[in-house]
Symmetry: C2
Subunit: 192 residues, 2 copies
């Protein structure tokens, strides 16, 4: 998605450790028009699939997730990183390993929000090692849902997450695929 | 907003301790069409104001916040509850007291995302005691922004948060104002 690549080139910051900071339009400040365009692009890329629900993860997945759900006219569920006090019903849990902090965190989704046989599109803002996606796939499988695909706004294809998704037979689409940060610059691949 | 009140009556669950759980369309599963309608209603209610940016708080504020920003055609910033590893620049911090857990949590916004003199519309999903709103007002003041108003998707008007906002001279709007949960039922006030 050229619009997104151009924006990453213009506003993204490459930090040490192959980290891309895009706080000005995705991860802290959000450009809602761009998020809507991402949603429309996901709709186009998964147009051959029946989608009943979008599954994403708080916090940065919510903006692209809700816009994708809006254009698909389906509900969106966001996995929570803590079980809130109002979450008094049974939940599905999954581990999400944090490479930054070297600890297992957990995400959860209330059981009654996912139904057996439902067709889920998983949306994430960033797929690097793909730990959040692995957690969402785990939860979708516990709920016996069908995963119609995984859509990433940005994928760092050299960190294994996108390969993991494809190796598990899932349809993977990234709106911007980053191959490397050689010389402190963002280098895009051909997948978008 | 009658559509929202009807939805709360239909799908909301009143729990002990004057807690309203609306996980099926706002706080865990999200109805994106309803969120867009909330955004349009906030635009109408604050139509007399110049708005440069929407400020909200992760996680449940993001969906109504980004839809409001979409219809206003302005950026949205969500305050973070933890400082992420990529947030390497200076941030504004504010305390947010948790009545459930009796502890002070913190929220933060990167300084360079808020500019002196900018006109901010603060959006929150739920205003009860209003602690998250107080934190966002605090941050907006640190940044020397103008607060053009505070919009709540749902306000529990008997818990003080909406009064606090008005007592501080701020324009307050709630799309659904709950006066009480007498007899385990949701009773709406006249403000919406």
């Amino acid at each position: 998605m050229k619009l997104l690549e151009d924006r990453i080139k213009k506003d993204g910051e490459v930090l040490d450790g192959d980290v891309l900071k895009i706080n000005s339009f995705l991860n802290h400040q959000v450009d809602p028009q761009l998020m809507m365009q991402c949603g429309e692009e996901f709709k186009r890329l998964f147009a051959d699939q029946k989608i009943d629900k979008v599954l994403t993860c708080e916090a940065s997945g919510i903006a692209p997730g809700v816009m994708t759900a809006y254009v698909l006219d389906v509900p969106m569920v966001f996995a929570r990183k803590k079980k809130p006090s109002t979450l008094n019903d049974a939940v599905y849990w999954a581990d999400v390993f944090s490479y930054t902090k070297k600890v297992n965190n957990k995400i959860c989704v209330e059981e009654k929000l996912l139904h057996k046989g439902e067709n889920l599109l998983i949306i994430d803002d960033f797929v690097a090692q793909g730990e959040a996606v692995k957690g969402m796939v785990n939860i979708a499988k516990q709920a016996e849902c069908n995963i119609v695909g995984v859509g990433a706004v940005v994928a760092k294809t050299f960190q294994g997450g996108s390969d993991w998704v494809k190796q598990h037979g899932l349809h993977f689409e990234a709106l911007a695929s980053i191959d490397s940060f050689k010389d402190g610059q963002v280098h895009f691949g051909k997948e978008n």
